[in-house]
């Protein structure tokens, strides 16, 4: 579903992402891990077509982001780090607008909005103005926005950052339900970026660890933790190894 081939992004001399390749299969849920500033957001922005890569390319659901950008973007649901909301709109008119610009055909639009409202637990606030909602509800609207066109690929950038513990649990439950519903089949290939390790353990089956713009680890979660190490230990080892090496060599 997602295929990244040698993605790189440089800003002048600064290398934000360096030659990252990976692929995500249909109905796979991948945790995108790394410390702040590792290049997670930049990588996701390249996959969604917001930023063009300096080098390399990617394809989403078989559409190359350079050759068929519109088709590729149609297949992606994206929740950026801060949900892209218009504070003056009501929840349902906002979702209707998103459905329109995501090319949902007219006859399926209402149904898509209803489904997104329902799946994200927003039916009770559908007529509320977004600006008056709590942060947790706004995050739900952000999620609803990402799934309203039922995209085969979901990209979620730190969806629980800045929420209180209760809201974190709610949103995490919601995502778990979205990616692995109790009834029916999973519909999305998902990349979930986070630096909260329990989140990965709760939701993801595979982990890609990005560190200083490079891919450091790419393995199934079970395989990583089977060797006795916790995810936290692996994270700490991978993200401090370079520093340790640098200190060792005078």
């Amino acid at each position: 579903m997602i295929e990244a081939r040698g993605l790189s992004k440089r800003y002048g001399d600064v290398v934000a992402v360096d030659d990252v390749s990976f692929s995500v299969a249909k109905d796979e849920v991948v945790g995108f891990l790394g410390p702040n500033g590792a290049g997670k957001t930049t990588t996701m922005r390249m996959l969604t077509g917001f930023l063009p890569p300096t080098d390399g390319t990617a394809s989403v659901a078989g559409h190359d982001i350079f050759d068929a950008p519109l088709a590729a973007r149609r297949c992606v649901g994206y929740l950026p780090e801060s949900p892209p909301l218009y504070p003056e709109m009501t929840v349902s008119s906002y979702l209707d607008f998103v459905a329109r610009i995501k090319d949902v055909p007219r006859r399926r639009r209402r149904e898509g909005v209803e489904r997104a409202l329902e799946r994200c637990g927003l039916t009770s606030v559908r007529t509320r103005v977004i600006g008056t909602l709590s942060k947790g509800f706004r995050q739900r609207v952000g999620l609803a926005q990402a799934i309203v066109h039922e995209p085969p690929v979901l990209i979620l950038d730190e969806p629980t950052v800045g929420l209180d513990p209760l809201q974190v649990r709610e949103i995490r439950g919601l995502i778990a339900e979205l990616v692995a519903p109790e009834q029916g089949e999973a519909q999305h290939a998902v990349i979930l970026s986070t630096h909260i390790l329990p989140e990965v353990e709760a939701i993801c089956r595979r982990v890609i660890l990005i560190h200083e713009g490079r891919k450091a680890v790419d393995a199934p979660l079970g395989e990583l933790t089977a060797r006795g190490a916790t995810l936290e230990e692996i994270f700490a080892r991978e993200t401090t190894r370079d520093a340790a090496l640098q200190q060792a060599s005078p």
Partner: protein
């Protein structure tokens, strides 16, 4: 460019659920009424004086269009200069602050959808303001006998000036996250455009061709022609080039964000 109207519709809705649209409409109606009353009083005062001096030659040449409506239209173009930046400042700048730029640019929209949609939203709102302008000369038809053609071509002039202001406003709004900066930038650009003929008059621009250019670039020069009732292709082309040009620049500016 199928999504142009979606973007424009959302923009208009956004204006009308916030107090901005109503504030601008109310203020504009008040100002338009004020300017109209002032122009009318000045006009009748002048006729009264001409009668006192028994200047029958001048009295026979006087007409509502050239002495009253023309004045009013020019004043309204200046009022728009103050209000349009307030409408356009948020068009693209707010998208950046809200993060909704990321939604638009990761959706299957072209950059033209975004830029033209924003322009259309702003232009439709300004058209509403110009419709208010049109009400006042309309009143004159009840009590007097203005020329319909001249009145309408002048109104068209005000409309085109308003749309040009919007195109420049969208352009300024594409540069910055700050609505205040977008407002000031638009305001300064529009003011410079307005006073270019005055600068040409002063002779600062030097020789003939430069001051001709100054006069040509100014919106006021072309409004003048339309207010006189002269609907000439060259003036219409001027407005088309100004609007089109600034929209092309806006598109380049929005695009450059991605390629930086």
């Amino acid at each position: 460019m199928r999504h142009l109207t979606d973007v424009a519709r959302r923009e208009l809705r956004g204006l009308f659920v916030s107090p901005v649209a109503y504030a601008v409409l109310a203020l504009f109606s008040v100002l338009a009424g004020l300017f109209f009353v002032v122009s009318t009083v000045a006009f009748s005062d002048w006729i009264f004086r001409l009668q006192q001096f028994q200047a029958f030659d001048q009295l026979s040449q006087i007409n509502l269009n050239d002495q009253l409506i023309a004045q009013f239209y020019h004043s309204m173009a200046v009022v728009l200069l103050f209000l349009v930046p307030g409408i356009t400042m948020g068009l693209l700048a707010a998208e950046k602050v809200q993060g909704t730029e990321e939604l638009l640019l990761t959706s299957p929209l072209t950059i033209w959808d975004v830029v033209l949609g924003k322009f259309l939203g702003g232009a439709l709102f300004v058209s509403l303001l110009v419709a208010i302008v049109g009400v006042y000369p309309g009143l004159l038809f009840l009590y007097g006998d203005p020329e319909l053609g001249k009145t309408l071509s002048g109104l068209l002039g005000v409309l085109l000036v308003g749309w040009t202001y919007v195109a420049i406003g969208v352009f300024a709004s594409s540069f910055t996250r700050s609505q205040v900066i977008a407002f000031l930038l638009t305001f300064v650009l529009l003011l410079v455009l307005l006073i270019l003929p005055a600068i040409a008059e002063l002779g600062v621009a030097g020789s003939g061709s430069a001051s001709d250019l100054f006069r040509y670039v100014s919106t006021d020069t072309h409004l003048e022609e339309l207010v006189k009732g002269l609907v000439d292709t060259k003036d219409l082309v001027y407005f088309a080039v100004m609007i089109g040009g600034f929209l092309v620049l806006t598109k380049a500016s929005v695009e450059s964000v991605r390629w930086r």
